[in-house]
């Protein structure tokens, strides 16, 4: 019985595969985008936001560009780089995609990089935020952000706003170390002092001992970077320890205060100052329309991952328009370089030299607006290039 069912399933799979190969026949009229994001595992909210944003953009702008039909093939890599590599290979070799996009975490983006180079397929990075990514292949373009972008800005801001002693608490992996290095450089150059540097293991159940250590060194502020998701736990335990009342500020790049999670953190998050590229409360007409449309479609507000996906698909659309529908890797990459447009997060452009994104970084403070928590922007630095590269 069981075997019978399995054979049936097998037959169905083969039939289905046959059906999909027949569509490959009109490949010339279709531009295929392989979207590889984590839809399951701890990073799933990243993938869901990007998938939502891409769907929303295509709904708003139609699925035909420059005479070509756009087809998005969604793949779930569960944030495991091995999967990413395998899926990218399948998409490039079997499905003959013109662009691979997505990439929730840095190792995933890096795993696909050699394939992008080899196959000359553009890799549009919509989420991962380590500086080095775009240097790994001439075919990588990024529409998200880099951690040094926001961490240097908050470092400068801290110096200017009378913060002298800081304890850092960062997750011990590439983005955390990137954030720490960028912040430290600016903050100490401005005369600030780092009294304690705590690196938290990525899989950390309890922040208590780290927080106690931070509390005992009595800093003016704590610089925090933990992956979105752990941010809520961190803030709750920060408040539990009475650190919110001890006058110690929380500062950091904005990942900790992801719009996706902000509301569930509770009032402990109020007053946290972060530097980041996007807030759902960004006061532009474009963003208001984006947030309203996203809310209507998916019942929740978009976070910075959604905006990375929205801009990523926009970049692909515009590049196709510019090449008149020519979808080979070199033409697309050439078209993408230097492109500038108005995103929901504000004006952005693609640096023609590094293929990385140039954008405004906003300083925001968590406040309660109409009963909900928002990152309210109160200052900004215009057109920040990735400092991780300009250094060299």
């Amino acid at each position: 019985m069981l075997i019978g069912r399995r054979t049936l399933l097998h037959a169905a799979c083969i039939a289905f595969a046959g059906a999909t190969t027949s569509t490959v026949a009109h490949a010339e009229d279709t531009v295929k985008i392989g979207l590889i994001v984590p839809m399951t595992s701890g990073q799933a909210s990243t993938g869901k936001q990007i998938d939502n944003a891409v769907k929303l953009y295509m709904k708003q702008n139609g699925s035909t560009v420059a005479g070509k039909k756009i087809e998005v093939i969604l793949k779930d890599d569960a944030a495991v780089p091995d999967n990413t590599k395998r899926l990218a290979q399948e998409l490039i070799v079997n499905d003959k995609v013109n662009v691979i996009a997505g990439f929730g975490i840095t190792p995933a983006a890096l795993a696909a990089a050699p394939l992008a180079t080899q196959a000359k397929v553009p890799e549009v990075v919509m989420a991962a935020g380590t500086s080095i990514i775009t240097e790994r292949s001439p075919y990588i373009v990024r529409t998200s952000f880099t951690l040094p972008q926001s961490s240097t800005v908050i470092g400068d801001w801290a110096v200017k706003n009378g913060i002298k002693k800081v304890v850092t608490l960062t997750s011990d992996y590439a983005p955390g170390n990137d954030a720490l290095a960028a912040f430290k450089e600016r903050f100490t150059a401005g005369g600030g002092q780092i009294v304690e540097e705590v690196k938290v293991p990525l899989a950390n159940p309890d922040f208590a001992p780290f927080l106690q250590r931070a509390k005992d060194s009595k800093p003016d502020a704590m610089f925090v970077f933990v992956p979105a998701g752990q941010g809520g736990n961190f803030m709750k335990q920060f408040a539990e320890r009475g650190l919110d009342k001890s006058g110690i500020k929380v500062i950091g790049p904005g990942d900790v205060m992801d719009d996706d999670l902000l509301n569930s953190m509770g009032d402990a998050a109020i007053g946290v100052v972060t530097a980041h590229i996007y807030s759902a409360a960004h006061p532009s007409e474009k963003n208001k329309a984006f947030v309203a449309a996203y809310k209507k479609e998916f019942g929740q507000r978009p976070g910075f991952m959604a905006v990375g996906g929205y801009d990523g698909i926009h970049l692909i659309y515009e590049a196709l328009k510019k090449t008149g529908g020519k979808a080979d890797g070199d033409s697309l990459i050439a078209a993408m370089k230097g492109m500038a447009w108005e995103s929901p997060r504000g004006p952005i452009s693609i640096d023609p030299d590094t293929r990385d994104i140039v954008q405004n970084v906003y300083i925001r403070k968590v406040e309660k607006v109409d009963g909900e928590l928002y990152n309210v922007e109160f200052d900004k630095v215009d057109a920040v290039k990735d400092p991780g590269k300009t250094k060299k």
Binding site: K48, P209, Q212, G232, N233, A239, G242
Partner: protein, 288 residues
Amino acid sequence: MTLLTILFDGVAYGMLLFVLACGLAVTLGLMNFVNLAHGAFAMAGGYVCAVLVNRAGWPFFAALPLAFLASAAIGAVLERLLYRHLYTRSHLDQVLFSVGLVFMSVAAVDYIMGSSRVFMQLPEALQGQIDLFGGGIGRYRLIIIVICGLLTIGLQLTLAKTRFGSRLRAAVDDPRVASGLGINVPQVFALTFAFGCGLAGFGGALSAEILGLDPYFPLKFMIYFLIVVTVGGSSSITGPFLASLLLGIGDVAGKYYLPKLGPFVIYTIMIVILIWRPNGLFGRTAAR
């Protein structure tokens, strides 16, 4: 008085580990069933509690017993339908089966509840710290210590002093003779299993505030449950209890005083203890 705070945090963390893992000690140690899906029951309890508190507006303390009951009920149903067929099978079969169950529970919860982390909305009275002897004592952690302390005493008494406890021990040691003496062995096992699952659910609900709750809970914390049970030995409740305290305090103190080595302290403790006593602190030396 930082030392006091560290000690206190460590005890609270250890107690939490204990409540989460003692259900596993019961099923693994007393029933000799390798149930790696233990964390899934903990997660179920956590989500039941979170939904009741956050969405239905129940008070936290009213939702806690329900977390226990819900997980126990799920455990009882699964025991009748699936687990009991595996009591006599090899440990490898049990491991494969329960790991499969873990992955199914992860996917199911992800589908129903979404993958983002859930936070419990605790009453105001449970938040913040109180000052005691100059050290800061977290209110919620204090509650954890009190609840877990009472629970431990209750458990120990149940197993050692009650009629049910002796029936259970008899049923485990020699099911044939036990049923010959008129003990309903399947019923005793079903009750024990459900109770172990209930404890897990209770622990899951209590721990959501500190450890966080998401669909990957059973995978993330499986290793901690197993450490507690291996270090403590699985033949009693006292073993895992002392092991939890030792590991909790060791972990917190290690992370505070040696932040660079922090995450390894708990493993170091485990290795040292297992070299010294391969069957755990209170393990039975004779193999069954």
